[in-house]
């Protein structure tokens, strides 16, 4: 195993809530995938075809709650990065599309599977996610969730897959000239 620390501090944020089957194309439309490259531009189109208010109103630290199969569809990483660049701290869903789940981990975005918390929460609620204890706190109630795998936790703790690979290859940050789009 690698030596990356696998602890992530607890986070709290305000909830946005969506339903089942939200796919990558409404999270980030395909027509932008080869033309938009700057983080701010990508963030500006987050959830464009799902919730036109979101990009204007979401605040850094907010948390998205979702139903089943959030992020099903395309492999496009911008469906994760548009939310990360928007400052979204975590997504809690009943289940995730499998590539979306990997993309989230690899971008250092916390993805939690916890149907009970999703059902219990209302838009605007404040949630606290404690990955060390594998529990979500909502209005004083604990909602446990299955812990992420050690591999996934170590990637998130490294800040994403790019830094995780650097650690593995023994490349220090000072070796790298520019860290921009897609980086940790």
């Amino acid at each position: 195993m690698d030596k990356t620390p696998s602890s992530i501090p607890p986070i709290s944020g305000r909830a946005w809530k969506y339903g089942d089957g939200v796919n990558t194309d409404v999270i980030f439309p395909g027509k932008y995938t080869y033309t938009l490259r700057e983080p701010a531009e990508i963030a500006a189109h987050a959830l464009e075809d799902l919730d036109p208010q979101f990009a204007a109103q979401a605040q850094p630290g907010d948390i998205i709650l979702a139903g089943k199969n959030w992020g099903n569809g395309s492999s496009r990483e911008q469906a994760v990065t548009c939310l990360k660049y928007k400052g979204i701290a975590a997504i809690v869903a009943k289940s995730f599309g499998r590539i979306y789940f990997r993309n989230g981990i690899n971008q250092g975005l916390l993805l939690i599977t916890c149907a009970e918390a999703v059902d219990a929460a209302q838009p605007g609620d404040i949630l606290t996610i404690d990955t060390a204890q594998s529990v979500i706190l909502l209005r004083g109630h604990p909602y446990p969730f299955p812990p992420l795998s050690p591999t996934a936790l170590s990637i998130i703790a490294a800040g994403g897959l790019v830094q995780h690979v650097r650690n593995k290859l023994g490349i220090t940050r000072s070796d790298v000239v520019a860290v921009s789009e897609g980086g940790g």
Binding site: G21, N23, T24, D25, V26, P29, G30, K31, T33, Y34, T35, R37, E48, D49, K68, N69, N72, G73, S74, S75, E77, V80, S95, G97, R98, I99, R102, N103, N106, Q107, S149, T151, G160, L161, V162, H164, V165, R166, K168, L169, I171, D175, V176, A178, V179, S180, E181, G182, G183
Partner: protein, 435 residues
């Protein structure tokens, strides 16, 4: 204790004697696929701090998603891809117009049965048609693979789907997939390896087999698998002989791999499955999937009569020769309805050439169709057939998500090639047998 296909394939790719569902392995793919997204991946790759791709021969790159470049931004993107290909000495590079990545890699036998291909494209499940393990991954994962040659994968649980009997007249592999996804839901196969077995699968043509694992991306699957038989091996052996000409800047004369069946894998009879489902092929009618979910599928009758303004025949799902043949048979001697565009985009240059030789392209043009450049076409809303607000498209593609074809206020219906052709002629969703 027996092993599933997924357990065997990922054990092989990780260099382990065995692996079981749930285990996380460091797998070394035989091929890493990327397409128009290669330039963006190269940018991520450089942020890692590595100059050279570890194993250039394992990369396969196709320009297919927006080809030829529709805008200056796309042209710049393509230029960056070509520069990367030159700098890194990538052999398996397919230029604009060769075709859709999954089709051209199959035609060129770049991947073989039993091997592992990971691609920055969700339909990399496609390669299950030949009994390879194909899975979609993200761009950053591809960059990591270029740098290190390996990636963590969780060995998936497997679902066994057996299809008995034989599909009826006018019923295709596409209908089978829309039926299964409709029955079990778009997340019915989430995180799983979907193994297909049974007489109805064995009797499918190779091109029909390609439809199934491709569509399993819409089932949430990690990969899908059809047991490879002699027909698969014959196709791949011939493909190696016919290989698409390599571009001038690559090395020449790669040694053909003669024994294409050497690595083929089959699940053990006592392999453990998370679930098993059996479907009778005779029960499956022609199906249509309505907006905006692939699992919103129902028998064609349910949607018959819905007015359409565009019909799209193409994509990695249904843009092959037999798809064009089915549609040409419907369209021959008829005309596309007034107020409807029929857009035909062969999945590859080879498909286009064969379709010309067989007269299908002439049939389409005489009926009033538009023929597009081999590639993804309007499937994901880049170009060559974007919809207007309020328009309805019937398509042979694999996705009907809201906004998929560039316009959130449009509707996309999915169907098999004959139904799409019949709908283009009728101007409404139509059963070809009732034209």
């Amino acid at each position: 204790m027996g092993y599933t296909f997924a357990e065997k394939a990922l054990a092989r790719a990780a260099g382990l004697p065995s692996a079981v569902a749930g285990q996380v392995v460091d797998a070394r793919p035989d091929i890493v696929l990327s397409h128009d997204n290669t330039a963006a991946i190269a940018k991520i790759f450089r942020t890692i701090g590595v100059e050279r791709v570890l194993i250039p021969d394992r990369l396969a790159i196709a320009l297919d998603h927006a080809v030829p470049a529709p805008t200056p931004q796309h042209a710049q993107n393509h230029a960056e891809v070509r520069k990367f290909v030159r700098e890194q000495g990538i052999q398996h590079f397919f230029e604009v117009g060769r075709g859709i990545c999954h089709q051209v890699l199959s035609e060129a036998a770049v991947i073989l049965p039993g091997q592992l291909i990971l691609g920055a494209d969700s339909h990399t499940t496609h390669y299950g048609w030949m009994g390879a393990f194909g899975a979609g991954i993200g761009r950053t994962e591809v960059a990591a693979l270029w740098a290190t040659g390996e990636l963590w994968l969780r060995v998936p649980e497997s679902m066994k789907i057996t299809v008995t009997g034989r599909l009826g007249k006018g019923v295709t592999a596409k209908d089978l997939c829309l039926y299964i996804i409709g029955r079990l839901g778009a997340d019915g196969g989430l995180y799983q390896s979907i193994e297909f077995h049974g007489e109805a699968i064995e009797n499918l043509s190779l091109e029909s087999r390609m439809v199934i694992p491709n569509m399993m991306a819409e089932f949430g699957a990690k990969n899908a698998y059809l047991p490879p038989d002699q027909a698969v091996f014959d196709y791949l052996a011939e493909a190696l002989r016919r290989r698409v000409p390599t571009p001038p800047h690559t090395a020449e004369g790669e040694t053909p791999r003669q024994d294409v069946s050497a690595l083929a894998l089959y699940p053990d009879a006592d392999a453990r499955y998370a679930s098993s489902h059996t479907f009778a092929a005779e029960d499956i009618p022609p199906m249509v999937s309505g907006p905006h979910r692939v699992d919103a599928s129902a028998p064609l009758d349910h949607f018959r009569g819905k007015a359409v303004q565009q019909a799209f025949l193409g994509t990695c799902t249904n843009g092959r020769l037999e798809d064009l043949a089915l549609a040409a048979e419907v369209i021959r001697g008829r005309s596309v309805a007034s107020g409807v565009r029929l857009i035909v985009i062969p999945a590859s240059a080879w498909v286009l050439k064969e379709a010309m030789q067989r007269g299908y392209i002439q049939d389409f043009i005489e009926a009033g169709a538009v023929i597009g450049v081999p590639g993804c076409g309007p499937c994901m809303g880049n170009h060559l057939g974007i919809l207007a607000p309020g328009e309805v498209c019937i398509s042979t593609a694999n996705r009907n998500f809201k906004g998929r074809m560039g316009q959130p206020e449009a509707e996309i219906y999915l169907a098999n090639p004959a139904v799409v052709a019949a709908s283009a002629v009728a101007g409404v969703i139509m059963d070809p047998q009732e034209l």
